[in-house]
């Protein structure tokens, strides 16, 4: 069934969009990522104009994250206090990010910068997570065969614990300074706005490795924070570029919210280390694909950008 999208101004198969939404929804629920880094390239692939794809996926992320966070609220795996602190940084960061985005646009290389950002951050995050989670898997396996539990070294005492303005985050079982969460939120906010994503794929590892939060709490908290950053981004795109396609978003999010519920169920049945290996592989796969596009000579060297009639 073909459907005409009023803002994107293209006709696309409705079931294809529902399927895409569903697939990304499952991953989003499993890993606590908004899925923006997956859905945006997928939308390019089905022929949605890039500007519309970026803006609309922000809107879709609101829905899948909201659905996901409700599931986590029931299990009390959301650290509201930590979420609010990172969100404060995130909103400031998103505003700065939009500023940076408009600057890049004015010098004319925004596509390239966004792509390079993707490759760089997906590559770093994916590689670090992959190595770390493989080590963790090996440790638990060794512990299982030798029959004695190895102490997990969370709450390692590093520079994060030496900073002032300490606050108690009961759900995460942490007593740390508010500065690192604020900075993490800020950085993710900037990147989220520049790259047109929720930023979960950076937020989740940052919460685990920098803030030292337990994995189960991280997913819910990250989703909680992403809702607001994505909603903010949606508003900015809708009011400045008019590129949010509500029909496209609706189709994606119908698939997405259902997928997210299944994803959350799958995620709760899996071991944290296994989840992390899978997420790392997924992130590396997307990174690899984007890097290839930059390195291999494109089939069509020329690209068209229609301007508004004068």
């Amino acid at each position: 069934m073909q459907i005409y999208l009023p803002i994107a101004e293209v006709s696309v198969n409705a079931f294809l969009l529902l399927g895409l939404g569903g697939l990304v929804g499952i991953l989003s629920g499993m890993f606590g990522v908004g899925g923006g880094f997956l859905i945006t390239p997928l939308l390019f692939f089905v022929g949605i104009p890039p500007a519309v794809a970026v803006a609309t996926s922000a809107n879709q992320i609101v829905a899948s994250s909201f659905s996901g966070v409700l599931a986590h609220f029931q299990r009390k795996t959301v650290d509201l206090k930590m979420g609010t602190v990172t969100l404060c940084g995130g909103l400031v960061g998103a505003a700065l990010g939009v500023f940076a985005f408009n600057y890049l646009k004015s010098i004319g290389q925004v596509d390239l910068m966004v792509r390079l950002c993707y490759v760089l951050f997906l590559g770093i995050v994916g590689a670090l997570m992959f190595v770390e989670s493989l080590n963790a898997l090996r440790r638990t396996r060794k512990a299982a065969t030798s029959g004695r539990p190895t102490p997990t070294k969370r709450n390692k005492h590093n520079w994060v614990h030496a900073l002032p303005f300490k606050m108690r985050f009961r759900t995460s079982g942490l007593y740390i300074s508010v500065i690192p969460p604020l900075l993490v939120g800020l950085t993710v906010g900037v990147l989220a706005a520049v790259m047109g994503v929720g930023g979960g794929f950076i937020m989740v590892p940052a919460m685990i490795y920098i803030l030292g939060m337990p994995t189960k709490v991280v997913i819910g908290t990250s989703l909680f924070q992403i809702i607001f950053v994505a909603a903010f981004t949606t508003m900015l795109h809708a009011t400045t570029n008019y590129t949010v396609d509500v029909v496209l978003a609706l189709l994606l999010l119908i698939g997405g919210v259902i997928g997210a519920q299944f994803g959350t169920q799958i995620g709760l049945r899996m071991k944290a280390e296994q989840l992390r290996v899978l997420l790392a592989l997924l992130v590396l796969l997307v990174c690899f694909k984007l890097a290839l596009d930059l390195l291999i000579e494109p089939h069509e060297l020329y690209s068209l950008t229609p301007l508004e009639p004068r």
Binding site: M1, Q2, I3, Y4, P6, I7, E9, V10, S11, N59, Q60, V62, A63, S64, S65, F66, S67, G68, L70, A71, Q74, G108, Q109, D111, L112, A231, T234, M235, H237, A238, T239, Y242, V244, V246, V247, A249, L250, L253, I254, V257, I258, A260, Q261, L294, L295, I296, E297, P298, E300, L301, Y302, S303, L304, T305, P306, L307, E308, P309, R310
Partner: protein
């Protein structure tokens, strides 16, 4: 304006012994939610004040042009090992859609000078004043524009598809793709003899969104704030709805 139109309508009849009487299957194309491209049927007849001449046969060329906009054409080059946009040429005006349908091979039915005058072929329909000085091969950019749009079905060259009966009745159909730009689509008919245009006629088809599509589009431009809030509200409600539905399913 009306006066000008009147002149345009009278002119071909006064100037030539053979002129075009045109019919279009529709003068408006509505883009609805399930719009998947459209087909327009162009048909007409040759009105004569003189008997059919025995010299070279009459030929028909039909063109359909969408609204023109400036287009920036960018070319990628390899820099530091990766492919990046480098040179750019702004084409001053290129139609968003352009189809040329003829009753015979284009080089037989149209002389170069006539093409220059009436801007009939795709290359002529694109207006490009000039490229920046540092770009020598600017024609490659216009070629690329045509190639890319041809691949998307936006530029079509349909040689020999116009059926032309008894040198009098002609008809052809032109397929419009789903990714149409809104606006007026100018349909032109040229009668040629020995490659020279003996008569031409012009009509406009309007392509526009209707119903919900129109409403959403208008809202997004006129009230972007309201539109944005509406989008977010829909997203949150959908998220909540799915969560609630699943909870019910699990408890029952």
């Amino acid at each position: 304006m009306r006066f000008l139109l009147l002149i345009l309508l009278i002119l071909p009849i006064g100037a030539a012994a053979e002129s075009v009487v045109l019919g279009l299957s529709r003068d408006r194309i509505n883009i609805t939610a399930n719009f998947d491209g459209s087909e327009i049927l162009v048909f007409g007849a040759v009105k004569r004040e003189v008997p059919i001449s025995d010299e070279e046969p009459l030929e028909v060329i039909v063109t359909v042009a969408g609204p023109s906009t400036p287009v920036v054409v960018r070319r990628k080059d390899k820099r530091y090992g990766i492919w990046v946009n480098n040179a750019a040429v702004e084409v001053d005006a290129a139609p968003s859609f352009y189809a040329v349908a003829t009753s015979g091979p284009l080089e037989d039915v149209l002389l170069r000078v006539e093409d220059l005058r009436h801007k009939i072929t795709t290359t002529r329909a694109i207006r490009s004043v000039g490229a920046p000085d540092n770009i020598r091969d600017s024609s490659k950019f216009t070629d690329a524009l045509i190639r890319v749009r041809q691949q998307n079905g936006l530029y079509q060259l349909l040689e020999g598809v116009v059926s032309f009966d008894q040198q009098t009745l002609f008809n052809t159909s032109i397929r419009l793709p789903a990714n149409l730009t809104e606006g007026g689509y100018t349909t032109r008919i040229f009668l040629t003899r020995g490659g020279a245009v003996v008569s031409d006629y012009e009509a406009t088809i309007f392509v526009g969104k209707v119903g919900l599509e129109r409403w959403l589009y208008a809202l997004s431009r006129a009230q972007p704030m309201v539109y944005g809030i509406m989008s977010i509200t829909i997203a949150v409600l959908a998220g909540w709805g799915a969560s609630a539905a699943f909870r019910l399913l699990r408890h029952s």
